[in-house]
Structure formats: structure tokens, C-alpha cells
């Protein structure tokens, strides 16, 4: 669909603050919008997963809410959890978008099992998730791996990994497609991924930017710093000895020192905080929480070796 300049500026106005895009990116976006640019089509495929990343995306508030994202910003051609069409009609929608000129954003949620020639995950008749990746990756302009399962295998690949589940880049390599891939693959891990990490990356792409990625393919903006470095429990001198105690959780198994994420700053499940005409801030917008805030040790869910390398989660 067309995104009107006014609509996107409304959304862009939300993209300010210490954790947001560089100003130059926004100006590029405004230029592009003035030129009547269209929102790119998005094809969202689910492999071996739990839909938690999609549910998390529905919780988006920092940049924009999910209705702003779906109605005003993106052209979501295929998403099995929310799309109206079912069966053949749905498959056709995905395949038509794949074959159209101009490319698309391919989003992968969930891992891709290579075991038994991909038979542990069929997404529609005659098509395994492995088949789907093979068929949809080549024409994509950018591939977003959303959630740790899609990035690195995650929970779906937990030892002994009976289905040979793997993340997108490994699966593309398995298919022989990684070397000559036209698209950039961006890894947005988390179990689930935070909605801001997903929407913030999408917003950067729409502004014509390619986010700077770390060695694990993750946007530096969200994953550039260890949880521990910004944890409010640091330097308090007080350690928790028993679960539900206040204080540093390092002694109870916290993986914050090994985990890259901005959770201490951003936290989770905040309300809508922007004051826009027609959409004022919610009264309890600042009510939010996070794992360590709830006195539970960080589980390291954004890291490539989650969960096996982070287990056991506790050291009680």
C-alpha cells in the first residue's frame, strides 16, 4: 500500500530519543516519502517456533504501535498468524509477492529443520520450511531473522537437536545459497525478540539505512553492549543469595555478563509514551519491567549459544 508522507512523518516523529535513528536517516526517509515511495512488501514465514516473536511484535510501542505498523507502514503480504486468507489463497499471496518486481523484505521466525530432508516442518502442501527458504531467499532485498530460533537455531535446536534445526544463515549455507545471496541478512535475536528491536530495524531500513551489524549479524544499536554493563544492580554492593532477594543476581546464575542486549535501558512491555495529536500518551505508559527487574537472572536469550550455552539457567 502507499504510505502517505503525513502518515509516516507521524510515525517518524515517534522515532526520536537516545536510542533511535540518526537524524540523517530520518531526513533520507522524508526525502523518500516526499518522492511518493511505497512501503516494501513483507513476507513473514514461520518455521519451527512458538509464535512468541510475533506476539512480542504485537506489543510494539516505542517507535509505533502494531496498527500503525500494519496499516500505515508495511505491506504485510503473508503472515500465518494474522492474515485473513487461508490455504491456497494464502500460499498464492506469498508466491505472488515473491514473484513481483522490486523484491521484498523476507522475515523468518522460527528455526529451519534440515533433518529428514526438512520433513519436520511443513508450512504448506509440498513445501517444507527448508524448501520455502530456498524459494523465497533469492528474490529478497533483505532477510530479517527474528528471534533466536531464526538467528541461530535457539530453543528449537536445543541439544540433542533431533530435527537438525538451524538458523537462517546456517540453513542458507546448507542450501548453498549463502555465498551469492543478494540480500543482507540481519539477525534480531531474543527469546522472544523485543518489539523495539524489530520495529527499530524496520524503520532504519525504510529510511534507507543498513544498520551496523556485529560479528553475529545483530544491529549494534540494540546488541552492542553487554546487559551487565548497564545493569542497575552493579556497584550496589548487595548480592542476592536466594531467589526473590534484591541485589546482584550474578551468584544465582545471571548471564548478563555474557549477553548483549539493551534490556536494562529499554525494559519490556512499556505502554505508548508519545504525545501525538489524536494519539495521546497512555496514562501508565512508563509501567514496564524486565527479567532482572523481576529478580530473575538473565537467561542470555539473545546469544548464539542460547539455550545450551546458557544452561543451567540457575546456580542456586
Amino acid at each position: 500500500m502507499n504510505v502517505t508522507r503525513r502518515d509516516f512523518l507521524k510515525a517518524s516523529a515517534a522515532i526520536t530519543g537516545a536510542l533511535a535513528l540518526k537524524v540523517s536517516g530520518l531526513m533520507e526517509l522524508q526525502k523518500a516519502m516526499a518522492g511518493g515511495a511505497n512501503a516494501p512488501p513483507v513476507i513473514w514465514l514461520q518455521g519451527q517456533g512458538c509464535t512468541g516473536c510475533s506476539v512480542s511484535l504485537l506489543n510494539s510501542t516505542y517507535y509505533m504501535t502494531i496498527d500503525q505498523l500494519l496499516i500505515d507502514t508495511l505491506d504485510l503480504k503473508f503472515h500465518p498468524t494474522v492474515m485473513a486468507a487461508a490455504g491456497e489463497m494464502a500460499v498464492e499471496a506469498a508466491e505472488t509477492a515473491r514473484n513481483a518486481d522490486g523484491g521484498y523484505v523476507l522475515v523468518i521466525e522460527g528455526a529451519i529443520p534440515a533433518g529428514a530432508n526438512g520433513d519436520y516442518c511443513h508450512i504448506w502442501p509440498g513445501t517444507t520450511m527448508l524448501d520455502a527458504l530456498e524459494s523465497f531467499a533469492p528474490n529478497a532485498n533483505v532477510i530479517l531473522s527474528v528471534g533466536t530460533c531464526a538467528c541461530y537455531g535457539g530453543m528449537s535446536a536445543g541439544k540433542p537437536n533431533p530435527t537438525d534445526a538451524m538458523g537462517v544463515e546456517d540453513a542458507l549455507d546448507y542450501l548453498g545459497l549463502l555465498k551469492n545471496l543478494q540480500a543482507t541478512v540481519i539477525n534480531i535475536p531474543g527469546c522472544p525478540a523485543h518489539p523495539d528491536w524489530i520495529v527499530g530495524t524496520v524503520a532504519a531500513l525504510l529510511a534507507g539505512e543498513t544498520p551496523e551489524l556485529d560479528n553475529d549479524g545483530r544491529p549494534e544499536e540494540f546488541f552492542g553492549t553487554y546487559v551487565h554493563k548497564r545493569c542497575p544492580n552493579r556497584g550496589l554492593g548487595h548480592k542476592a543469595h536466594v531467589l526473590s532477594d534484591a541485589g546482584c543476581l550474578a551468584g544465582l546464575g545471571c548471564k548478563g555478563q555474557q549477553t548483549h542486549a539493551d534490556c536494562p535501558l529499554r525494559k519490556w512491555n512499556a505502554g505508548w509514551a508519545k504525545n501525538l495529536p489524536g494519539q495521546p500518551a497512555e496514562p501508565l505508559a512508563e509501567v514496564k519491567n524486565w527479567c532482572i527487574g523481576a529478580r530473575n537472572p538473565c537467561q542470555g536469550c539473545t546469544e548464539p549459544d542460547f539455550p545450551d550455552g546458557m544452561s543451567p539457567f540457575y546456580n542456586l
Binding site: 512468541g52 489463497m89 498464492e92 522472544p192 523481576a294
Partner: protein, 514 residues
């Protein structure tokens, strides 16, 4: 002439589901429900630290993670022999209750409602992902459609705020880290109680003023669906939300179309595998089952096993819970359900209420779900009429413990039975040398979307599809309406691989007609 059609992917559910129906003279005469994805959580859990279980199992499902967290904690608490302090029990109930509300709102508006609405008069006309869609003559149009779509958008914010509410004590949603065996890691403060209460009030206003009325509006416009999707006629609930007096807000029990109420003995659950892709030749109770996957097993068409109770097919979900409460005489459930049965919009009245049998239907499931959302939300906050009743929030005590420490026993077994929004959920554990030796999960969608069992009995969704009229096999929206009424969650039901000593044999998978 009979036509066989397959809806794959069956969208607006959680996970990967394929539905095949045979339509003969405009009516469904055969149905097969098939889960098409598999991960192997149970193999993953084997050998691990039991304390990891609540966090691993929450990742079985991103829509109902809290239910798995609860089941797993109850399971471990049973095995460890630890008693949860009141605050901890209530906090977990609040997080689970908030997720029930979130899930039910999500289900009606964002998963089910599009089956009933023609979007041509609305702001999302011709807009992906709402387009393309089936368009049938019976769909609501005009002002009703516009209102429902407006509420759909409003419901996106409401379910997000239900998660915000849940995170106050859960830590983050989806996948709440604060659920641990022994209680909860998050603590009680007055600010948190007040914030939860404020967000809850908004949820209750939405449920009472928008969600329930919208369900009744759709029911009024599609009243024939009180007689479609009857299903197996047997309902089962483990019960959920343990209260201070030892009872459960939603009771454990079984009932059926004869309105006979009965007890539940977990020992009578058998998972059959004749049509399931596992190597076993006979069904087993989850505490004993040992099987291996076999993708090319003859006559097998699903990765789901077929759980049955005492050899019979049982449906689980909000309908089962509300019906058990109704027949148990719970005044709240009785009033809520009688309110529906006497609603003039549905053709009922005080003098001539609709018969109870209408609940065993597509619309019965939607109505039960909406009423349950109200029942749970009201219990969390207390009765508006009674100043002394502040609900579960009113029972929290700032400063009291939320967690009881315990040691992991060397060898033990446990069972944790609770309810997910979609129905009865059970976790079973055997611990040996302080590690998980066996971990079993039987989910609600295992029950509801199960294939045929060894006795040839179809699963609940399959049975509910039989007799459904299909006007146009190119636009089988009636099939979607029946399946969606169960709120299927397939990630939950296809995660299990019964532990064998070896890795599953890799066999060439020949996919049958589904």
C-alpha cells in the same frame, strides 16, 4: 459427488495445522486434522537441571507460555514437595489470569473475527494482510463490519496492555522469567498492586463493554452456528487458579451433553498412536509412555498423538471449564451463562431460555471464552458491588514472602495439571540423580486437534467438522469457523518426542493427502 479439500496452511491459529475435509452434497462427511511441525522438547529436557524446565517449556508456545510455566512449576513443586507461599501463588495466578484475558481477546478479534466480516466497507479494504480473504454472502457488512474492525484495532491495544499488566509481576511477556518452583521471584509492592489494578479496570471495561457485546452481535447474526460444530459432546477440565480456600476458580471435572458431572483421574489418560507418527503399537499414560517418531508409519497422518480419557474422546477449553463450573453450581458461571441463554438478541428469554445444548457449538465456544475472560478478570480485581471484595489483588500482602526455597530431590516424580487458555494442560516429570530423566507434556490442542485413536474414534475438531455445511468448496469459510472456535495452538501439541535411548531414525517422509 464428494470433493476432498485441504486447507493448508490453516491460518489465524498458532502453529502449523492442515485440515482436510470431504464435502458430499454440501456437507462435511469426513475430516482429518494434522499437525505438520515437530521440535522434540522432551528429548531436549532429558538430562537437564529440573530448574530449567519452567523456562524451556514456556518456549513451547509464545501465546500461552505462562500456562506452561505454571504447569511446570506445579509439576516440580509436586516432585520437590515444596509449598508455595500465598503471595507467590497469587502472583502467579495474576500473571496467568492476565495472559488468559490477553489470549481470549487476541483469539476473538485477531484470529477468529475475520471469518465473519466482509471488509469492503472498512478502512482495511483491499489492504494486506486483511486482503485477500474469502468473501461470502453471510458475512456482516456496513456499520456492523465497520464497528467490528474498529474494535479489532482497539483490541490490538487492549491485548498489548494485558501483557503490560502481566509483566508487572511476570517480568516480561511473552515468556515470563519470574515463574520458579517455590513461587515467584518478583515481589509485592503497593505501586505494583495499584498499577495492576488500574490496567485491570481498563481490561474489564473492554470485556464488559466491547468484547462480550461483539461476541453476542456475531452470534446474533450467525445463530445457525449454535447448531454447527457440536463435536464429541464430552468436556474435560483439570481446573486452574488455586484459591486461598483450597478450591480452584475454574473447577476440575468432566461433563457431557447429558449434563452429567464427573471427576477426573489423571491415571485414566491414555495417548493413542495408531494414526500418529510414532513407533509404539499401543497407547500409554503420559507417566509411562516411551515411543519414537516414525514418519512413514502406515495410516498415520499427524505428528499429534491422540489423548483419550477412559477410552473416550474429550474436548478441552473455555467451554469445558465454564460448563463444569456451571454444572458445579458456581453462581458466577451460572449467572453468566444464563445471561447468554436468555439473551433476546440470540432468540432467548427469561421465560424460554435457549437450551444448554447450544453451548456445544461454534458459538458456544466463543461465548464461553468471552464469559470466562470476564469471570477471570473480575476474580483478579474483585466485585465492583462489594467494597470488601478486592479480588486476588486484595489478598496480596506487601512484605510477605513470594518464594519458598527447596532442594532438588535425588529421585522423584511429579505431575502438574493446570489450564491454558485453550484447555487442559499437564506436565509430568521423573527426576533421577537430580536431573530430568523424563518430561512429558500433554497440551489442550493435543486433545482437540488429535487424529483418530486406536479405536477409530476421531478427535474433537475432526468430529466437530462432520456435518458442517459448506456452500462453496472454493471458499470453505465454514470450515475455518469451526476450527477457529477451538482456538488451536499447534506448537503446543507437536513438541513431544517420547524418549527412546536413540536418536529418532531418519526415514523418508511420505506425506499423505494432508
Amino acid at each position: 459427488m464428494a470433493t476432498t479439500i485441504t486447507i493448508d496452511p490453516l491460518t489465524r491459529i498458532e502453529g502449523h495445522l492442515a485440515i482436510e475435509v470431504t464435502v458430499d452434497s454440501g456437507v462435511v462427511t469426513n475430516a482429518k486434522s494434522s499437525g505438520t511441525m515437530f521440535r522434540g522438547f522432551e528429548m531436549m529436557l532429558q538430562g537437564r537441571d529440573p530448574l530449567d524446565a519452567p523456562h524451556y517449556t514456556q518456549r513451547i508456545c509464545g501465546v500461552c507460555p505462562i500456562s506452561h510455566g505454571m504447569a511446570s512449576c506445579l509439576n516440580l513443586e509436586d516432585a520437590f514437595g515444596v509449598v508455595v507461599p500465598d503471595n507467590g501463588r497469587i502472583l502467579r495466578n495474576l500473571v496467568l489470569g492476565a495472559n488468559f484475558v490477553m489470549s481470549h481477546i487476541l483469539h476473538f478479534y485477531h484470529l477468529a473475527a475475520l471469518d465473519y466480516i466482509n471488509l469492503d466497507d472498512t478502512i482495511v479494504k483491499d489492504m494486506a494482510p486483511w486482503d485477500p480473504n474469502y468473501v461470502t454472502d453471510d458475512m456482516v457488512t456496513g456499520d456492523t463490519a465497520v464497528a467490528l474492525v474498529g474494535h479489532y484495532v482497539q483490541a490490538l491495544a487492549m491485548r498489548r496492555k494485558a501483557h503490560q499488566m502481566a509483566a508487572i509481576f511476570g517480568g516480561k511477556l511473552p515468556c515470563a522469567p519470574s515463574f520458579v518452583p517455590g513461587g515467584c521471584t518478583e515481589v509485592v509492592t503497593q505501586d505494583k498492586i495499584d498499577d495492576f489494578r488500574t490496567l485491570l479496570a481498563e481490561q474489564r471495561t473492554f470485556i464488559d463493554g466491547t468484547y462480550i457485546p461483539d461476541v453476542l452481535t456475531v452470534a446474533g447474526a450467525f445463530s445457525e452456528y449454535f447448531g454447527i460444530g457440536v463435536g464429541c459432546g464430552n468436556l474435560l477440565a483439570y481446573g486452574v487458579f488455586d484459591l486461598t480456600d483450597g478450591s480452584k476458580l475454574l473447577a476440575r471435572g468432566r461433563c457431557n451433553t447429558q449434563l452429567a458431572l464427573d471427576t477426573v483421574d489423571p491415571g485414566k489418560i491414555i495417548e493413542y498412536v495408531a494414526h500418529s507418527k510414532y513407533r509404539d503399537n499401543e497407547g500409554k499414560n503420559p507417566a509411562d509412555g516411551v515411543t519414537q517418531p516414525k514418519a512413514d508409519k502406515p495410516d498415520a497422518y499427524s505428528w499429534l498423538k491422540a489423548p483419550r480419557y477412559d477410552g473416550q474422546v474429550y474436548e478441552v477449553g473455555p467451554l469445558a471449564r465454564m460448563a463444569v463450573n456451571y454444572l458445579s453450581g458456581d453462581p458466577t458461571a451460572v449467572a453468566l451463562i444464563n445471561g447468554v441463554l436468555t439473551d433476546p438478541q440470540l432468540g432467548g428469554s427469561e421465560e424460554e431460555p435457549l437450551p444448554i445444548s447450544v453451548l456445544f457449538s461454534v458459538l458456544g465456544r466463543h461465548a464461553a471464552r468471552a464469559l470466562e475472560a470476564k469471570l477471570v478478570a473480575d476474580a483478579m480485581g474483585g466485585t465492583a458491588d462489594d467494597e470488601d471484595d478486592n479480588g486476588w489483588l486484595g489478598e496480596l500482602v506487601v512484605g510477605e514472602p513470594v518464594y519458598s526455597e527447596s532442594d532438588i530431590p535425588r529421585d522423584a516424580s511429579g505431575i502438574g495439571l493446570t489450564e491454558a487458555p485453550r484447555g487442559a494442560l499437564g506436565h509430568w516429570i521423573d527426576i533421577k540423580r537430580r536431573r530430568i530423566d523424563r518430561y512429558q507434556v500433554v497440551t489442550p490442542t493435543n486433545w482437540n486437534a488429535s487424529p483418530k485413536d486406536d479405536l477409530g474414534q476421531m478427535g474433537p475438531i475432526e468430529q466437530a467438522l462432520i456435518g458442517t455445511p459448506v456452500a462453496n468448496t472454493e471458499q470453505p469459510v465454514e470450515v475455518l469457523r469451526v476450527v477457529h472456535s477451538f482456538d488451536p495452538c499447534l506448537a503446543c501439541s507437536v513438541h513431544m518426542l517420547r524418549p527412546g535411548k536413540n536418536k529418532p531414525e531418519v526415514v523418508v517422509h511420505t506425506r499423505p493427502s494432508i
